[in-house]
């Protein structure tokens, strides 16, 4: 008898738990005007958008410049080495 009762209660909990877990969030209780929100929550989208695009442009420009400058440095090193060799410098 106790075993049956335990199984019934367990089944009830197992069936009811997901139903409770999947409840829709509570509906909005009141409307709050945008200008009465605390300053931290009044987030305009434009600065975030501008920041994102500016970051991408600046990062890509810096990366391109970095490749260019590294290429230039290695080419100069190779040239210097070749000149040193053609002058019969240290081997």
């Amino acid at each position: 008898m106790i075993r049956r009762l335990m199984i019934s209660v367990s089944l009830l909990v197992a069936i009811a738990a997901p139903a409770f877990a999947l409840q829709a969030p509570a509906g909005q209780g009141e409307f709050v005007p945008m200008n009465s929100l605390p300053p931290a929550d009044q987030l305009p989208a434009a600065p975030l958008l501008v920041a994102a695009y500016a970051f991408v442009w600046v990062a890509l420009a810096v990366y391109l410049w970095s490749i260019w400058s590294r290429l230039g440095r290695v080419e100069r090193d190779i040239q210097a080495l070749q000149q040193q060799r053609s002058r019969g410098g240290p081997r």
Partner: protein
């Protein structure tokens, strides 16, 4: 490729210059509004990152199993580009999320896995720089495992519950967004097609310098 470089550079620069006009004229998303327009640079950054990761992983496998040093140089170049574009995605994403979700970051499956892939390739670069002799083989193995993560990052939004938009967003884009999105993707892929040979040339020159 050298003949193509200048026209490609001009085309890519023109596309990047025109992209803001297209983005400004693209339709506004109904719930997120203006901030959703970060999407047009955010997703193409990940497209390039994943392409670079695949190139790095495949070239690393060729280097490991066929012992081709040229493949290793291509892998190293691709890894650096992957890290740069991954960083673009990881910075633009939170700027979008702050407005759309109310938080800068969420430790959900998509964001965490994307961060892990980025960290794997930062690790790859660190191993290459500070690992000493033989580190290229260890780094190549890291690249293969890093590449194996990419499909999981892609499908993570469909498998696990996450607040990140699902993969169905891109195929179902409405006409007012689709043109702008693919325009930006092409611009980013062209930029990748320009950066990759430049970066590979740098590695070839370094190898030539080391041999001398």
């Amino acid at each position: 490729m050298r003949r193509l470089f200048a026209p490609l550079l001009i085309l890519t620069a023109a596309m990047f210059a025109y992209a803001p006009v297209m983005i400004a004229n693209a339709a506004y998303e109904s719930t997120m509004g203006l901030v959703q327009k970060i999407f047009y640079f955010h997703v193409p950054s990940w497209f390039v990152m994943f392409t670079a990761v695949f190139i790095c992983g495949i070239e690393s496998a060729i280097f490991l199993f066929r012992r081709k040093p040229a493949a290793d140089r291509v892998a190293f170049a691709a890894a650096e580009i992957a890290v740069v574009f991954g960083l673009l995605g990881l910075v633009t994403g939170p700027l979008w999320g702050r407005k759309a979700w109310g938080v800068w970051w969420q430790w959900d499956a998509r964001l965490t896995m994307a961060l892990l892939v980025e960290l794997i390739f930062i690790g790859y670069l660190l191993v290459r720089k500070y690992g000493g002799p033989g580190s290229e083989k260890l780094a190549a193995a890291m690249a293969i495992f890093g590449m194996a993560n990419v499909p999981f990052v892609y499908v993570s939004v469909n498998i696990w519950r996450t607040i990140h938009p699902q993969t169905s967003v891109v195929p179902s884009l409405p006409p007012g967004m689709k043109g702008t999105f693919w325009f930006c993707v092409i611009a980013f892929m062209l930029l990748f097609a320009l950066l990759m040979p430049l970066r590979v040339r740098l590695e070839h020159l370094r190898a030539a310098l080391d041999e001398q």
